[in-house]
Amino acid sequence: MAAHGSGERSLDAMTVGERGIIASLDCEPTIARRLMELGLTPGTVVELIRRAPLGDPLEITVRGVHLWLRRSEASRIDVSPA
């Protein structure tokens, strides 16, 4: 991952129980659009709830909804500290 400004890092790098604010989605455009339609728009608060028993996927909550997504996507979502 490239260096991030002002404490930004990827969703994947957060610790369990930590919250952040979505800064940007650097995924393939249709995937980015889909994730945003599911509520992961920039400026939204996300919380990393847990990692699956085998380390992947990740459970997050966003806009009151619990979702799981794979690390491959999570690593392309940048968050800034809440």
């Binding site: 393939e28 249709t30 659009r33 339609e37 509520g39 709830i49 028993p53 799981w68 794979r70």
Partner: protein, 727 residues
């Protein structure tokens, strides 16, 4: 209640996010007056039901698949978009959209609702789960919502049946469509959309009011939108792709501007109309359950125990029911047999039709019991957790966690397993899962394995295991390895596609409603008997014919004469033996028997002779029929009560040309490997045909599996001989 009989029913579509409670509402409104079918050409299920509105007018209600967006990401969502835009020729756009949202989660559920409001069609917004909202002390100002959205709003609780009368009354009224829009396209994007809209041909299948939405869809499409390709000329799509490309360079975020616009509108909407107690709304109960059920250690353990219990129940509970059905079917058969004079018609009815009905019905207990558990797991919310736990494992073969349970179910029987793949939203993953499901050794293979292991594998201890046990395990293992290999190959060739997005909602845990669980069980069982059942019946009758005709050859008549002579001499034992020989010789000389000989050159390299060939052919009805066929071929009557004489016959069988033993342990191994991999179950093919809505996939399955089986058995037999294990 007097109404003009010719009044066409009002068309109403129920729509909403997954888990909004659409099915619960649909069931509550229609009761059991439902019809389940498929949308033509796709694998998406179409559920419709009739209701009587308060005025006496009738309405046809369609339960559309749950969706997140009108920009489709799955076949289900594509259907929803097509129905709403009027692109779906068999389902005209509804007169009224009943949009269902989870009132406790407007933040997310309103996204699709706003998209649908923007379509400018008559619509009602139904706030479902008002009971749950009340429990959270939320208050929702429906008047404010109506004002902001421009559509009527009603609060209900579908599960408790509250508010349904008010809803029915509203469904009866004519509704003015809303004119609201919640996002503005920037001017440069507007120009592009206008330009694409003008490129669209004037065609009946492109309704005027859908043209703008079609233009937007064209711009956002990345070549995966099959429906667009049907309605829009290829050069216009090409144009759209080029324009999208240019936009990408010019304003990178153009694709999602409308998404943020709508979510901003939702925040404002919710702030004005929802008052919730201060502090964060969290479902603490679900979170507490999840701390156990998806725990790093307990999660997988509970998962394994739960799956074991489900699997065991399907096995254990289905068996007595299947035996009961078997018993009832053969009772009907023998009653009919006694009532009718012997002859072709009796044989057709008893051995063809009734046996075919029996085969179909014996699948029903497994289907019913499996779907009982699956819908309990699904409706309680556990299914999404199971996929969460297993995703990593399934990702290794290019699938996702959702494929796990259908594959596990296939160890009992591939038919309910394949039917369970409906919960997989990614089309390519679903087809891959269907294609590999029959490699899981199902319970119908067990009698065949047992026969062959019993005949050829010595009961020796190897460490703390027995050789038969190891062999049986190896057969299951070979199936799994083949499944992994085929999944891997399919995902890299015919089922390759763009980067998939695996994301799944973890809904709050809810107590499943018995009614909806039972509806699912009933629906699945009926669907199977009605659709696959007819095919299975037909095939059984054809196989019956092949195994019974032509009758009464010279050889048979000669044995028959001996039998009569023995009977007259009072030698009943001899007469019985000769009777079995009549049956054996009849089978041998039937079309199936001749086919067995005909295919012998093809299966000889696998170590099989024509007698096994007959077994392979009759196995097409169901794998376990192999055992009965071999018993007939070897003139030992039924193998039901005692399989030992048949095992002995297999060991002693002699190759008439060489005078040597016909079968060796190596033949047995080769035959078992063949049964692991070969597609011999016509019922499976009938279900694949129904679930994929095409003949392409069942034919592919048949060819692929049988080629694989032949090659593997060839490798086993010829390899074994080369290593000196042939004798």
């Amino acid at each position: 209640m007097s109404r003009p009989p010719e009044a066409p029913p009002r068309r109403i579509a129920i729509l909403g996010n997954p888990n909004a409670g659409k099915s619960t509402l649909f069931n509550a409104l229609t009761g059991l007056r439902q019809k389940v079918g498929n949308y033509p050409g796709v694998t998406v299920e179409k559920k419709t039901g009739m209701i009587d509105l308060p005025s006496g007018r009738r309405a046809e209600v369609v339960d559309l698949p749950g969706s997140y967006s009108l920009q489709p990401a799955s076949p289900d969502e594509m259907i929803v978009r097509d129905v709403l835009l009027g692109l779906q020729s068999d389902t005209p756009p509804p007169d009224l959209i009943v949009f269902v949202v989870d009132a406790t989660n407007l933040d997310r559920h309103m996204y699709l609702a706003l998209q649908v409001v923007e379509l400018g069609r008559p619509m009602l917004l139904v706030l479902n789960m008002m009971d749950a909202a009340a429990a959270l002390s939320m208050r929702i100002d429906t008047v404010a919502l109506e004002r902001q959205l421009g559509v009527p709003v009603v609060g209900i609780s579908a599960a408790k049946g509250e508010g349904l009368d008010a809803l029915r009354a509203m469904m009866d009224r004519d509704v003015e469509p809303s004119t609201r829009h919640f996002r503005e396209w920037p001017a440069h994007l507007m120009r592009v959309i206008d330009r694409l809209e003008r490129r669209l041909p004037e065609r009946a299948d492109l309704p005027q009011r859908a043209r703008r939405d079609v233009a937007v869809a064209m711009l956002l499409d990345r070549g995966e939108d099959d429906a667009l390709a049907r309605h829009v000329p290829a050069d216009a799509l090409q144009d759209a792709r080029m324009l999208a490309h240019r936009l990408d360079e010019f304003s990178p975020n153009w694709r999602s501007g409308d998404v943020t616009g709508r979510y901003d509108a939702i925040s404002a909407l919710v702030a004005e109309s929802v008052s919730a107690p201060p502090g964060e709304r969290r479902d603490t109960r679900s979170e507490a359950i999840d701390r156990v059920l998806t725990h790093r250690v307990w999660g997988p353990i509970i998962f394994v125990v739960l799956m074991g219990a489900v699997f065991q129940s399907v096995f254990a509970w289905a068996q007595p029911l299947m035996d009961l059905i078997d018993w009832a079917v053969s009772a009907v058969g023998s009653m009919l047999g006694q009532a009718m004079p012997p002859g072709a018609l009796r044989s057709l009815l008893v051995d063809g039709v009734i046996a075919g009905v029996g085969t179909t019905l014996t699948f029903v207990p497994q289907i019913a019991i499996l779907f009982l558990f699956l819908s309990l797991l699904e409706d309680s919310g556990y299914m999404a957790r199971a996929a969460f736990i297993m995703d990593r494992v399934m990702a290794k073969v290019g699938l996702s966690g959702r494929s796990f349970i259908p594959l596990l179910s296939s160890f009992a029987c591939a038919i309910p397993g394949i039917m369970a793949t409906r919960s997989i939203d990614n089309r390519r993953d679903r087809i891959t899962t269907i294609m590999i499901a029959p490699f899981m050794s199902c319970s119908a293979r067990l009698p065949v394995y047992a026969l062959i292991i019993g005949a050829f594998v010595p009961n020796r201890w190897v460490g703390f295991l027995t050789l038969p046990g190891i062999t049986l395990f190896a057969m299951y293992f070979i199936g799994i390895v083949a499944a992994v290999a085929v999944a891997w190959a399919l995902k890299r060739t015919v089922l390759r596609g763009g980067p998939p997005l695996y994301v799944m909602e973890l809904p709050p845990y809810r107590r499943p409603s018995l009614r909806s669980v039972l509806t699912t069980v009933r629906e699945r069982s009926l669907l199977f008997t009605r659709n696959a059942g007819t095919v299975i019946l037909l095939i059984t009758v054809v196989l019956w014919f092949l195994a019974s005709y032509p009758k009464g050859s010279e050889a048979v008549r000669a044995i028959e004469a001996q039998r009569v002579a023995a009977l007259q001499a009072g030698d009943t034992a001899q007469a019985r033996a000769l009777e079995l020989r009549v049956a054996g010789t009849n089978l041998e000389q039937s079309f199936a028997g001749r086919a067995g000989r005909f295919i012998e050159p093809a299966i000889a390299p696998l170590g099989f002779d024509w007698r096994i060939g007959i077994g392979l052919i009759t196995s097409l009805a169901a794998r376990e029929v192999m055992v009965a066929t071999m018993a007939t071929v070897f003139n030992i009557g039924s193998a039901d009560e005692d399989v030992h004489p048949l095992r002995q016959s297999l060991r002693d069988a002699v190759d008439t040309r060489t005078g040597l033993k016909a079968y060796t342990p190596l033949t047995g191994l080769s035959l078992m490997v063949f049964y692991v991999l070969a597609c011999q179950c016509m019922s499976t093919l009938a279900v694949v045909r129904r679930e994929t809505n095409s003949w392409r996939w069942p034919i592919f399955m048949l060819v692929m599996m049988n080629s694989l089986a032949w090659l593997a058995s060839f490798a086993v037999y010829q390899g074994g001989r080369a290593l000196g294990y042939g004798g």
